[in-house]
């Protein structure tokens, strides 16, 4: 993308094209008016020569014509502006997608490389059983990583095409979170996770279980992945505030910089820069979290005290207690 733009001539640059077209339009408006006034003066002379009543068709028409011209030119201007903004947006999205593909290829290539490496090693050498088991374990992990990535892409496509939604079932949220942690204890084994539920309520809610699991997976894996402390810790708190259910995921990880806090939910957004190769992640995880939250009529916000001081993701769902406990 970058190189394509570099190679095109400077006068094709969209900003310049935009400025030139505005200038041309403004100039043409001035010329229209100028000529119109000239022509109507000539006309006026004709009128006086022939002794006609000038008030009948001169004064009012001049101003109407100028007004109509101005409005039309104004509309064209607005149109150009909208097209300009739109094209900039598309360009930005294109660049992000390009970055995403770059990075996602890396995410896919890494487990494939590892798998191929071990398979070729196994073909080449007869390893002892203990080593075999160890490396087979690596291969299983690589396959899991691969299928996780593939699932993420497929899920994104499904959510975006809105083919999800009708599959909501009533589920107890606190229990769902606890079950998830138990089911994935191997993945989360280095991490201390505490679930706090001071109200003691169960919080039943209509959810799509597989999507909700994916949301939890993304939030918890992020909390672990972007964590440099010796003992990663995640506190999950359920709270009912003003008929809204808040589920807070607070970690002791590397935190988020202020200027990134809103952007991280954007599709394809990655922290770090691509050109110096510090970009991390697929740029999909948190976008999926937000999409899933929205699908459940909720939203998600991030908070952080700054870099290195942990981050906190809060899911909010509309929640009327009386509707659920049957009051």
């Amino acid at each position: 993308m970058e190189t394509i733009i570099d190679r095109t001539k400077w006068f094709f640059h969209p900003v310049l094209v935009f400025i030139f077209s505005i200038l041309a339009l403004a100039l043409s408006l001035i010329l229209y008016i100028h000529w119109y006034v000239e022509v109507s003066t000539g006309f006026r002379e004709v009128v006086t020569i022939h002794n006609l009543d000038p008030g009948q068709f001169l004064e009012s028409e001049t101003w109407v014509v100028i007004l109509v011209l101005s409005i039309l030119v104004g509309m064209i201007l607005v149109g150009i502006l909208i097209i300009f903004i739109y094209s900039q947006k598309i360009q930005q999205l294109y660049r992000m997608q390009y970055n995403f593909i770059n990075n996602f290829t890396h995410e896919l290539k890494t487990p494939v490389t590892s798998l191929k490496l071990y398979l070729e090693t196994f073909m080449k050498y007869e390893l002892n059983r203990r080593d075999q088991i160890k490396y087979l374990g690596y291969m299983v992990q690589d396959v899991e990583r691969l299928s996780e990535n593939i699932n993420r892409i497929l899920n994104l496509a499904k959510i975006e095409s809105k083919s999800y939604g009708g599959e909501l079932v009533e589920s107890n949220l606190v229990a769902a979170v606890e079950r998830f942690i138990k089911d994935h204890s191997r993945l989360l084994k280095n991490c201390e996770i505490n679930v706090h539920n001071p109200s003691g309520l169960n919080f039943p809610y209509h959810v799509n279980e597989s999507l909700f699991d994916m949301l939890l997976m993304n939030l918890l894996i992020n909390a672990l992945k972007y964590n440099e402390s010796e003992k990663p810790k995640i506190d999950i708190t359920f709270e009912l505030l003003k008929s809204k259910l808040h589920i807070r995921f607070a970690d002791n990880g590397i935190g988020i910089e202020k200027r990134e806090i809103k952007k991280i939910f954007k599709k394809f957004y990655q922290t770090g820069r691509v050109d110096d190769m510090t970009a991390q992640g697929s740029g999909l995880g948190l976008h999926l979290v937000r999409s899933v939250a929205r699908l459940h009529h909720g939203k998600v916000v991030a908070q952080s005290k700054g870099k290195g001081r942990g981050s906190e993701f809060t899911l909010t769902f509309p929640y009327k207690t009386w509707a659920w406990i049957g009051l």
Partner: protein, 242 residues
């Protein structure tokens, strides 16, 4: 002379599975292998352990592989370095080769091909060592002396001859001068200078770089206020113009 006949290979790779797989295969081939999980650790191991060959990944956390490569090349132009990267565009390969890498293999790679290339690189390096006449300085593409304006730098003795006479240069000064000369005419960002010249990453203060530039200007510029060689580029960094 190395202590053992075993050749040492440093693997700089952040993906644990791949790093261990490489270690396994290279050890089975009879090499002595060490793994570094990121760029900074890689540089440290390179200095301490003095490997015979380095296998380098490009996408590393913190300091990336190309910076590691450039940092090493400023001091050692001979050690064979092989890039093993998922980036397969010609552009990326050219970038690596222009930074002085000896070989470039893309992931996923073929195990036998990788092992043969490693073997070949090591063989060639050992020839160069055996034919002792190829001294480090001759083989190095870095110039032994460099002259600009009324200044001359002798890299072998780390001495600069300039308007204020003869100056003994520190190792860090020599390294930075090499970097500026290697990249003459091209702007260098402060972070880049820090990463390549010092091997630092992240929150390091860029004032350090500025201080060195002030010193260079005092040594080499006729008028340090209006530099002709070590020019500032606003909001980017510096440019060695010669």
């Amino acid at each position: 002379m190395k202590h053992s006949a075993k050749k040492r290979i440093l693997v700089v790779e952040d993906e644990r599975h791949i790093a261990e797989g490489l270690e396994l295969n290279l050890s089975l081939k009879g090499y002595d292998v060490t793994i570094a999980p990121d760029g900074v650790a890689g540089l440290q191991k390179w200095k301490e352990w003095q490997p015979d060959l380095i296998v380098l990944d490009i996408m590393l956390p913190g300091m990336d592989g190309l910076s590691v490569l450039q940092n090493i090349r400023l001091e050692d132009d001979r050690i064979p370095i092989l890039i093993l990267s998922a980036k397969s565009d010609t552009e990326d390969k050219v970038k690596g080769l222009s930074c002085g890498v000896d070989d470039y293999i893309t992931k996923p790679f073929d195990l036998d091909e990788f092992l043969l290339r490693v073997e070949r690189l090591l063989t060639r390096a050992s020839w160069a060592r055996a034919e002792g006449y190829l001294s480090k300085a001759v083989l190095s593409s870095q110039p032994r002396t460099y002259a600009f304006g009324d200044n001359r730098i002798d890299f072998e003795t780390s001495t600069a001859y300039c308007k204020c006479g003869e100056i003994r240069l520190t190792d860090q000064e020599v390294k930075l001068l090499r970097l500026f000369i290697a990249r003459r005419g091209k702007p260098l960002a402060r972070d880049e200078i820090l990463q390549i010249g010092w091997g630092y990453t992240g929150e390091m203060t860029t004032r350090t770089v500025d201080n060195f530039i002030v010193r260079f200007r005092k040594y080499f510029e006729d008028n340090p206020k209006k530099p002709a060689f070590f020019k500032s580029i606003r909001s980017i960094g510096y440019l060695f113009d010669h």
